[in-house]
Amino acid sequence: MYNGGKIIIGLIIFIALVTFPFYTNMGKTSEQPAALTSSPDDPHIGGLKIGQMRSEHMKILDQWRDEVVRGGERFITFDGDQYEKSLQIGCLGCHAKQEFCDKCHSYAGVKPYCWDCHFAEGEGQL
C-alpha cells in the first residue's frame, strides 16, 4: 500500500467514530424507565389508551394550552367527569413529575419547555 501509514490511521479514526455507540455502552445494561410496565392497551382516561398517551401526550398538552390561553376553555369532560386542562392540576394531580415525566424524558433525551414556566411541587421556583 502506498502511504499505508496515513491511510490506516485514517481508517482507524473512522472506525472509532462510527462504532462509538458500541464501545461507549460496553458491559452496560440499559434500564427501562420503570413507569413503562403497564401495557400500552390499558385505558387512560377519555377513551385514550396508555400507548396513545405515551406517544401523543405532547400534542394534547399543546392543544390544551392553545385552547386555554387563547380560547379560555379551561375544562374538558371525560366520561361524564370534568377535568381541568392543566398540567399542574391535571396531569401532576395524579402523576408525580419525577417518576412520570422526567424518567422517560431524560431516557429519550427530550427536554420539554413545559418546565420553563411550570414547576412541580417540591421543586423550587425558577
Partner: protein, 328 residues
C-alpha cells in the same frame, strides 16, 4: 429512466419494510438487517479504502488555482497552490468542511467573444446545507444509542430546536436536510446539462435519503411512535442484547430499513466520496514538483551509470589524453 428506476426501487424498499412488519418479521427488520448492514458498511468501507490505497500515483498531479511558490517577491497563493504539508492540510480542511472547490465561478455562458464563467453558488449552498445538516442529524441520533444521553448531544438538540416551533419542538436541521436534498434532486431533473449526465446511481441515494428524512420527520411530528420503546430497541442493538419490544409502529421499521439499505449500499456507491475526498491526489498533494522529485512507484529499477562511475572507469585514459578529471 434512471430516475424512475430509482424512485420505484425506493418505493419497493418502503413496501418491503411495511409488509415485513405486517408479517411480524420485526426481528428481521429491527435486528438482523441493521447488524448485517452495519457489518457490510464497515467491511466494504475498509476494503474499498485499502483497494484505493494500493493504487499507485504515477504522476504528481495536484490541481492548482493560484500562484505557485516561486521567487520571494512573487506572492504565493498558499491555499490554492500549497507547497508544504501544512498548507495542504489547510486546503483539505477548507475543501472537506466548506466545499471550497464549489465556491468558484462554475457557470459557463456562451457569448460572441467566447465562453464567460460566472458565479453560481446554489450548488455550493445546497450541497453544504445538505451535508452539514445530515451530519448534525446523524449526531443527534446518538440520543438513541447512549444511556445516559451525553450533555453535548442534548445541547445539540436544544440548539437545533431553539426556534421552539410546535411540540415536540421542530428541529431546524431535519427541515433543512429535506429541503436541500429536494433541491439537489430538482437540480438533476430541471437542469438539462446535469440531467443528461445523471444516472440511477445519482438518483437512488437522493431518493433514499429523502425517504429517510421524510419517514423521520413523519415519525417525529405526525405518525407518532413510542419513543421509549424505540430506544429500548436501539439500546439493545448497541449493547448486543437485541430485543424487539412490541408496539412500535411500522413507520419506525421503514425508517430503520431505509437506513440499513443506505449503510449497506454506501461502500459500493458514489457515497464513498466520504473517504475519497481525503484520498484525491489532485487535492492532497503539495505542488512541490519542482522542488521534490516524485518517483513513479512502478518504475522499473534502471541501472544508472553516473559520471563518478564513468570517471572511475576511464580516469587513467582520460589523464593520459589530457582531459581534466574531477578526482585525481
Amino acid at each position: 429512466m434512471g430516475m424512475i428506476f430509482s424512485l420505484i426501487a425506493v418505493i419497493v424498499l418502503v413496501a418491503v419494510a411495511f409488509v415485513g412488519t405486517q408479517l411480524h418479521l420485526s426481528g428481521l427488520f429491527g435486528v438482523a438487517i441493521p447488524y448485517l448492514a452495519f457489518l457490510v458498511f464497515i467491511a466494504g468501507f475498509v476494503r474499498k479504502v485499502i483497494k484505493w490505497g494500493q493504487s499507485p500515483v504515477p504522476f504528481h498531479i495536484p490541481t492548482t488555482c493560484g500562484q505557485q511558490k516561486s521567487l520571494p517577491w512573487i506572492k504565493q497563493s498558499k491555499l490554492d497552490n500549497p507547497s508544504t504539508t501544512l498548507q495542504v492540510i489547510g486546503r483539505m480542511a477548507l475543501e472537506v468542511l466548506l466545499f471550497r472547490s464549489l465556491f468558484r465561478n462554475i457557470k459557463t455562458h456562451r457569448t460572441d467573444g467566447g465562453p464567460v464563467y460566472g458565479s453560481n453558488k446554489w450548488l455550493w449552498l445546497g450541497g453544504l446545507a445538505f451535508h452539514v445538516t445530515f451530519f448534525v442529524v446523524f449526531i443527534r441520533h446518538l440520543r438513541f444509542f447512549t444511556e445516559p444521553v451525553p450533555a453535548w448531544v442534548n445541547m445539540l438538540d436544544a440548539v437545533d430546536g431553539f426556534v421552539q416551533v410546535g411540540v415536540p419542538h421542530m428541529l431546524i436541521t431535519g427541515v433543512v436536510l429535506l429541503a436541500a436534498a429536494t433541491y439537489l434532486l430538482l437540480r438533476r431533473i430541471f437542469n438539462s446539462q446535469v440531467q443528461y449526465i445523471s444516472l440511477a446511481a445519482d438518483y437512488f441515494p437522493l431518493f433514499l435519503i429523502i425517504g429517510i428524512a421524510l419517514t423521520g420527520i413523519l415519525m417525529r411530528y405526525f405518525i407518532k411512535v413510542d419513543i421509549v420503546k424505540v430506544k429500548e430497541l436501539t439500546m439493545g442493538l448497541a449493547t448486543f442484547k437485541a430485543t424487539v419490544p412490541d408496539g412500535i409502529g411500522s413507520i419506525f421499521f421503514i425508517h430503520l430499513f431505509l437506513i440499513s439499505v443506505l449503510f449497506a449500499y454506501f461502500p459500493f456507491s458514489k457515497l464513498m466520496h466520504l473517504a475519497g475526498v481525503f484520498m484525491s491526489p489532485t487535492r492532497n498533494l503539495a505542488n512541490n514538483s519542482r522542488a521534490v522529485r516524485h518517483i513513479n512507484p512502478w518504475n522499473p529499477k534502471v541501472h544508472l551509470h553516473t559520471y563518478e562511475e564513468y570517471e572511475d572507469e576511464f580516469r587513467e585514459v582520460m589523464k593520459s589524453e589530457g582531459i581534466p578529471v574531477e578526482k585525481e
